[in-house]
Symmetry: C2
DNA sequence: ACAATAAGCGGGGTAAAGTCCGTTTAGAGT
DNA sequence: ACTCTAAACGGACTTTACCCCGCTTATTGT
């Protein structure tokens, strides 16, 4: 009776060579972005750099935007862990208002750091910058519910707050408009605005 | 002493043939969208339909997204007039809170009607869905100022509220998720959410 | 070991966006 | 009317995302 002993952590049916190639492609993509920016990442160029065929790139990621989403997901997973099981107030243990504020305060710098990649992951074909971003809205929804807002408003507000939080960095702020955080612990106007918005919204 | 007598209303240096061709292209685009949807509008197809060369299309609109922005601008101008000189509370004459709410209540159906075109006008190359949308954020900023919010918060909040208002329809809602307004004067959850958000934000 | 097979791979092919530059023409001045 | 010039035009060309499908290979069961 042989127990397969799945190493756990890699997708069930993924073949070893496929996993290896995916890593190669992601690494190559990171290099190209670091060297020349997201705009210069072409599917042919990426394939060549990784020493693979173009078909393989599409098999892995589906589309150009998919590559950037995969890169985001990587970092996003770590971010998610801080939210789900890190110390409060970002993690569990604080009140919903504090957690909402903490979420925005962590999310905004995260998106700032990943701004170039996040923008490149937006694609007119699919509705949501997938993977990563899909965490923000459910999380906000849960916290709004815990905060005691009228239940029939919670979903709609979670959509609008998600847009308020991520929209500026995905849609409305140009690259050079992005406020460089002057000092590490300086007040960031976006973070302040978010805090103000949440405090007012949840004020009894 | 000859006075040129500019007819006023058409851009200064635009040649008559250029204006005529722009109209032709916009008309052709509208037809194609009505018949087959935005996805089927190709630059070659559009040029051929309008009986023009492809170079002309790009000279006029710069990019594919530019066409949809031009289509939006057309309707947007009319919308803007209602805001700038129509009856209150959408137009001038009401208090800032009422005007903000009225703006959202008018803006959301407007974007719903134009959803397909508005989405097609979003492009990864440029920061803002140009033209049209550029009106929302300044307008909100002015009203927030009039409402007496702390001046150093007004700009940031206007960015976030703009995203809260338009983001859902541009980014986060898929085509088939769009809630069809059940009856003409039924409560729209998006509008209600907006009202709730603004009321809470401006509550003294 | 070996065979069977499902998954992965590769690169040529297609379609559509965007560029370039030689040609044409509207409109102003005379 | 005629000339002149800046603007507009057109379509071939380039680049790039994305598709297709015959070939290769990792994996599993015997």
């Amino acid at each position: 009776m042989t127990v397969p002993l799945e190493p756990f952590g890699k997708a069930r049916g993924e073949r070893a060579d496929a996993a290896r190639n995916r890593e190669r492609l992601l690494a190559a993509a990171r290099e190209m972005i670091a060297e020349q920016g997201t705009a210069q990442v072409t599917m042919d160029g990426l394939a060549e750099r990784a020493g693979l065929g173009k078909g393989t790139v599409f098999r892995r990621f589906g589309s150009r935007a998919g590559i950037f989403q995969a890169l985001l997901d990587d970092d996003e997973r770590r971010f998610q862990e801080r939210v789900l099981s890190g110390p409060p107030p970002l993690g569990p243990g604080a009140g919903p208002a504090d957690r909402l504020i903490a979420y925005g305060s962590a999310r905004i710098p995260f998106l700032l750091e990943h701004h170039a990649i996040a923008r490149a992951a937006v694609d007119r074909a699919l509705p949501v910058p997938a993977g990563a971003a899909s965490m923000t809205q459910p999380h906000i929804r849960v916290l709004l519910g815990l905060a005691g807002l009228p239940p029939d408003r919670v979903y709609g507000l979670s959509v609008q707050l998600t847009a308020a939080l991520e929209g500026p960095l995905l849609l409305y702020l140009a690259q050079d408009e992005i406020p460089a955080p002057p000092a590490p612990d300086d007040p960031d106007p976006l973070v302040d605005g978010w805090r103000f918005l949440v405090e007012r919204l949840l004020a009894d």
